[in-house]
């Protein structure tokens, strides 16, 4: 191969632009993915796409675990529509809402299944028609969008509308909604544009004479309805489809008791029509809507998902899919996940992806070793966050066990160095270090360019003989185009990519 000497360095003038910077192209900072700019515009610290890996820190990009064993199976002929977690005393439970209107409870420790409500209890089983919360560690409370849609479960007895209420009295008739929360020791229910609240310290008395009540919002910014009510940091946030309000300063005084509070608007334009995507994250609220993921800092609604802009809206209106979210503690880090249908930038297919965030700057994506996830939720007990998900038939823990059952892919940026505007041909070496925490599946690095796959070169890396750091032998290649990037693919169950690098030597100039 003819050797071409690089031109001598000359001072930069308007007529002789300086040579572009040389030096290796290195992937080691692992600062998360960024699909917002074009692949050429991604910073050197980031990757364009991360799927199945978690960017932990510098030189630390680790494959994500896969699903745990099956823990709940939908009865034959039914589909899992919605589930949520609660605890009775210290016993952790999950309430599962099925397509036939039945509600089951399973104990997440013992896996014992108990029927909460018989088939036909929930008349229209749909994510947006069901709201759940827990009252202390005593009751699961759930509401449905149907005429008599307020229910209480104490772990053994279901209290139904018109029947006896826990602690005495009768359960209210005609009460219903699609969201419920406990705030200031009162039950708050959202029913379209109306908020209904109970008397203090009561789960069944909503009468005005006891300090209960309701109000309906006719504010122009509400648009349609209240999707969620969420208690955080001493406030009750009302998440509308296109707005956010909050309640504070709740007081019940006088005889007969009258409840007053402040109800103010926080944001008159941005809310979420996806109630299952609204989550508490520390002292803030996260929610997803049509144009991204947002955090509510006090009254400021701030979009935090700009790095996802390249894929987030790739499926128009999410094809009618209901977004859901949850949290998980993975490798000691608390992460927030939202399930979004996107066009996978690798396969070009529609996939339901877990878009994940560390709460700071790093975003990444993942699937699990299931065909298609349709709903996720997290369980929090003893400050441990575990993400659970379902494909409609089975509920399992996610990110539980190292797995080679699903694909992990990376796309680096497309580097323009050393000189994209003049490169005719170049030769290169791929080098790096990968830590094999477990040796099972091989890793393939594909060196590619702006020409896509036409001239890409796949470089399978040999498997090491044992676990540990593996500084693999440099792999030579011919640069396939003017821009250069890497695609990394593996099904390995547990590896950490420390560093990948490319050294390029221009061998022929264009023009």
């Amino acid at each position: 191969m003819p050797q071409v000497e690089p031109p001598q360095e000359q001072p930069s003038t308007p007529y002789t632009p300086a040579m572009p910077a040389q030096g290796p192209l290195i992937l080691d900072k692992m600062a998360g993915m960024n699909t917002s700019p074009d692949r050429m515009g991604v910073s050197d610290d980031q990757l364009f796409w991360i799927d199945g890996f978690m960017p932990l820190d510098d030189n630390n990009l680790r494959t994500l675990p896969g699903v745990g064993p099956q823990l709940y199976n939908a009865p034959p002929g039914t589909t899992i529509i919605y589930f949520d977690f609660f605890n009775i005393a210290s016993s952790p439970k999950c309430a599962v809402f099925l397509s036939n209107g039945k509600v089951d409870q399973f104990d997440t420790d013992t896996l014992a299944v108990t029927q909460i409500a018989p088939p036909g209890t929930v008349l229209v089983p749909f994510i947006n028609n069901i709201g759940t919360t827990q009252y202390g560690n005593q009751y699961l409370i759930f509401v449905c969008r149907q005429n008599d849609g307020y229910f209480i479960w104490d772990g053994a007895v279901l209290y139904v509308p018109g029947g006896p209420a826990p602690g005495g009295g009768l359960m209210p008739l005609g009460l219903h909604g699609s969201a419920v929360e406990i705030y200031q020791d009162r039950v708050w229910i959202a029913n379209d544009a109306t908020i209904i609240f109970s008397a203090p310290s009561s789960v069944s008395d909503f009468t005005g004479g006891s300090g209960g009540g309701s109000f309906t919002s006719n504010d122009s910014f509400l648009k349609v309805l209240f999707e969620r009510v969420v208690s955080v940091n001493g406030f009750l946030y009302q998440i509308g489809d296109s707005s956010v309000n909050y309640i504070s300063g709740v007081q019940t005084t006088g005889s007969p008791p009258v409840t007053t509070f402040t109800n103010q608007n926080a944001d008159a334009q941005v809310g979420s029509p996806y109630p299952a995507s609204v989550e508490v994250f520390g002292r803030n609220i996260l929610m997803a809507n049509s144009f991204g993921v947002h955090v509510i800092y006090g009254s400021e609604v701030k979009k935090v998902s700009k790095p996802l802009d390249g894929v987030y809206s790739s499926v128009a209106s999410f094809a009618g899919f209901q977004l859901s979210s949850g949290q998980a503690t993975i490798f000691g880090r608390r992460c927030w996940c939202v399930l979004v249908p996107i066009i996978d930038p690798i396969s070009g297919l529609l996939r339901n992806k877990l878009m994940m965030w560390d709460g700071d700057k790093r975003w990444w994506a993942s699937e699990q070793d299931v065909a298609s996830i349709i709903f996720i939720r997290h369980q929090e007990i003893n400050s441990t966050f575990t993400l659970w998900g379902t494909d409609g038939a089975i509920i399992r823990r996610y990110f539980a066990v190292g797995s080679f059952g699903f694909q992990k892919n990376l796309l680096s940026k497309l580097w323009s160095r050393p000189g994209w505007f003049m490169t005719g041909k170049a030769g290169g070496m791929l080098w790096g270090c990968i830590k094999y925490n477990f040796v099972d599946s091989a890793i393939v690095v594909r060196v590619e360019s702006e020409t896509g796959l036409a001239f890409a070169q796949s470089l399978p890396l040999p498997l090491p003989g044992a676990a540990g750091y593996n500084v693999f032998d440099p792999q030579s290649f011919v640069q396939p185009g003017k821009l250069i990037g890497m695609f990394v693919s593996t099904t390995a169950s547990d590896i950490t990519i420390n560093t990948l690098g490319i050294d390029i030597q221009i061998t022929e100039y264009r023009g």
Binding site: S248, G249, Q251, Y297, S299
Partner: protein
């Protein structure tokens, strides 16, 4: 009410947003409950959001709100009319004094 937030010195824009929101909310609650209890209508200024680097009006209006609140509730109070967000010692002292007044007012009014 997250009065504990008022005792924190915000160090990032996000923390400032939360602090400012909690602060304004508590003032609104105080004004509302005083009106409900006494019929007295106190002044309510827009003190959220604000720019700590360029808003002298905020200090003035906020001090008025505290003076009115203290007068109605019989709180001895502090001088909250002087603040430099760039001086850590002055800021810490002001944050503490402001939170103390809010805490006392909350206790008197049953707001927490």
């Amino acid at each position: 009410m997250a009065l504990a937030v008022l005792g924190e010195t915000p160090k990032t824009p996000e923390q400032l947003a939360v602090w400012s929101f909690v602060h304004m909310s508590h003032h609104r609650d105080i004004i509302r409950v005083i009106f409900e209890a006494t019929g007295l209508r106190l002044d309510e200024w827009v003190i959220d959001p604000f720019d700590p680097n360029s808003d002298d009006t905020w200090i003035y209006q906020h001090a008025i709100m505290h003076n009115q609140m203290d007068s109605v509730l019989g709180i001895a109070g502090y001088d909250l009319s002087t603040l430099d967000w760039q001086d850590p010692e002055i800021l810490a002292s002001w944050i503490n004094a402001n939170q103390t007044e809010h805490y006392i007012a909350g206790n008197i009014l049953g707001l927490g």
